[in-house]
Symmetry: C2
Subunit: 385 residues, 2 copies
């Protein structure tokens, strides 16, 4: 296979989803490492921590108390990056002036939520069974639905759901303003800026369309135009299944793959095998399949270096509001961006050349996928116990 030359030579791979490049230098993992080591993540946390602001019944930073929730729980972030209301900003720069060219700013409003994945302080997605992950997917779907524009073609598909009071002490009501986009994500582990091990993710909803989904929507729309309405990620998933070498796991509905153009050493994507615009397009069986895919990725990650594997992950799907064209081109997928490279304590730094030149990776995605394929089976912590 001609591709195997790429195990030994430096090359650049193209990412058609973002329209960008990554430099791959497979021989570079031979470098000795004398630099920073991450502390391996603490084990043996208690199931309930009285000092944790996410545990059921505890007090939060700004005085509110969490309910005695038993599954997921959602609340407005006490330190939201964007807010529903703020002072207006109307710059008075003359058209064509240097100010109007160089000092461009637009106000951004929005709403930020925190969502716990479990009442237990010491469980992560990797510890949960697919059946226990389904409620998390349900909560994501419900938050998304509650913010969906009534003008979106997706509104018809969306069940008129509301988070059940058992799971959400604060009900997610439609904000006054219609926002453009919702980013659902999880930062896991201290190496990814997460300040609390209690399993949780975030949801940031903004009046602007952020850069990353904007770039993807452009590429997805262009692909459809150039390929008779076909979907890029459906075609890509089919090719990866045929090739096999970058596949980590698949079930009927979802593929887990180390994408050809991955930047982070063990970066993966979960891709729907058929066109789904957003979470609301999933039926119950699809949700179980997605839960299984999430369980498989996170468990394999933890097994890889026998550690609580840090990552940032998030869902890319249709905007809350957008053109019909954009919503139809949107294609549900999840990105996992994990920093570890060699062991539980040695990470990849995307620094100098990466910041000033372009992203660079050491091991190939094919090598990463092979390692992750071998890491299936029971969670290492359960075997130790």
């Amino acid at each position: 296979m001609v591709e195997s030359v790429l195990d030994d030579i430096s090359h650049r791979r193209f990412n058609p989803l973002r329209g960008s490049y990554v430099l791959v230098s497979p021989h570079r993992t031979k470098r000795p490492w004398q630099g920073q080591q991450e502390s391996p993540s603490k084990t043996s946390l208690p199931a309930y921590d009285p000092a944790c602001y996410l545990c059921p019944g505890n007090k939060r930073a700004q005085g509110d108390s969490n309910p005695q929730y038993d599954r997921t729980f959602v609340f407005v972030n006490d330190y939201s990056a964007v807010k529903e209301e703020q002072a207006p900003y109307e710059p008075e720069h003359e058209a064509g002036s240097a100010e109007s060219l160089f000092l461009q700013a637009q106000p951004v409003t929005g709403k930020c939520y925190v969502l716990t994945f479990s009442a237990a302080h010491n469980l992560t997605l990797a510890d949960l069974s697919p059946a226990e992950i389904v409620p998390v997917i349900d909560a994501w779907t419900e938050i998304y639905t509650a913010h969906l524009s009534p003008r979106s073609p997706l509104a018809a598909a969306a069940p008129a759901t509301r988070l059940p009071p058992s799971s959400a002490g604060v009900s997610v009501t439609k904000p006054k303003e219609q926002y453009r986009y919702m980013q659902i994500f999880e930062n896991k582990g201290a190496a990814m800026g997460c300040s609390n091990p209690h399993p949780h993710g975030q949801v940031w909803t903004t009046s602007s369309l952020p850069e990353e989904p904007a770039a993807e929507f452009e590429q997805l729309k262009q692909y459809r135009r150039q390929h008779a309405g076909r979907h890029m990620l459906a075609d890509y998933a089919a090719l990866e299944i045929e090739k096999g070498e970058r596949v980590v796991f698949e079930n009927e509905a979802f593929l887990v793959v180390c994408p050809w153009w991955a930047v982070w050493p063990f970066e993966t994507m979960i891709i729907s095998k058929t066109h789904k615009r957003a979470l609301v397009d999933l039926n119950d069986s699809d949700k179980q399949m997605l839960a299984e895919a999430i369980a498989e990725v996170t468990r394999r990650y933890d097994n890889l270096f026998e550690t609580h594997f840090p990552y940032s992950m998030g869902i890319h799907q249709a905007p809350l509001e957008g053109s019909d064209d954009e919503i139809e081109a949107a294609y549900l997928h999840l990105h996992f961006y994990p920093p570890l490279l060699r062991s539980a304590t040695v990470r990849k730094f995307l620094v100098g050349f990466e910041m000033l030149g372009e992203p660079q990776r050491d091991i190939t995605p094919e090598q990463a996928a092979a390692r992750l394929r071998e890491c299936g089976g029971e969670l290492y912590r359960k075997k130790l116990a």
Copy 2:
């Protein structure tokens, strides 16, 4: 001033140099921090460390010995990310096939150098005087010159220099192939993936034009076309000098500014006040001014949190080879990307939302510039000594 509204509200700023956005949430620094802390960087290193592979006279990883150099010293990276020679790669994908769309790779050749900034193991750029930084700028200029395409209009400007034997044990000879681009950079500190405190930077030279300079050249060319041949960064520097609020330092030839669109908390740019395409356009007085600007930034950084302030920095300038249009639009500037946010041990993480949505910052560039303006004067370590 209407801009001061932006100290309190969430907004998006536009970066005309990259054509991208950053989300600014000034109120967010109020969050309590329970997450990862960096270890404050070690002080009191010896001037010579027998275990350091960069110190004069010592042995390197692959067996070569460093000369007894006394200033700068350059050698080919023992673990280069790109190499001058490698096996050929000619993918055999049929035009229009899924492989040709999704599995795109191009071989990249090139040469990577390491450049020490001083013979002393325990000095950093912040410890060096401008006069001691001039040799580093000379070395950069000479490495650049040695790789410049004879077809470049810059070749006429470039002195036919070679690194003096006193500073370089390995002479930088023109590689067999003409490369497209040279990225000069420094990763400083363990938080930025630097594995050795001996003051040094890197030079990666590649057959491809990396993403970041490519994006900048597009924006710079477009600005010239739309503004009667004027240069974006000359106009921008003039505006910042007029406004003052983001200026950290200036001398006759260079401006140090926290750019309007900065992503990292204390990100700065050093911008030439007049159009210089590359280091070879600088005369001796310009080089002294640049050395002073580098000394001012790095010293202020260290003074800010009284620590060895980590950062990645690098030089953006004309490509080694390119169209006349691209080379003429190129505009010498340096970027400093430092991760620290609140103290010597608390950094900003560009993670979940930043990776999946868009870059987000907390303090405003105006607040950062005000802090850095106050940090002038002697290096804190010298006062302690």
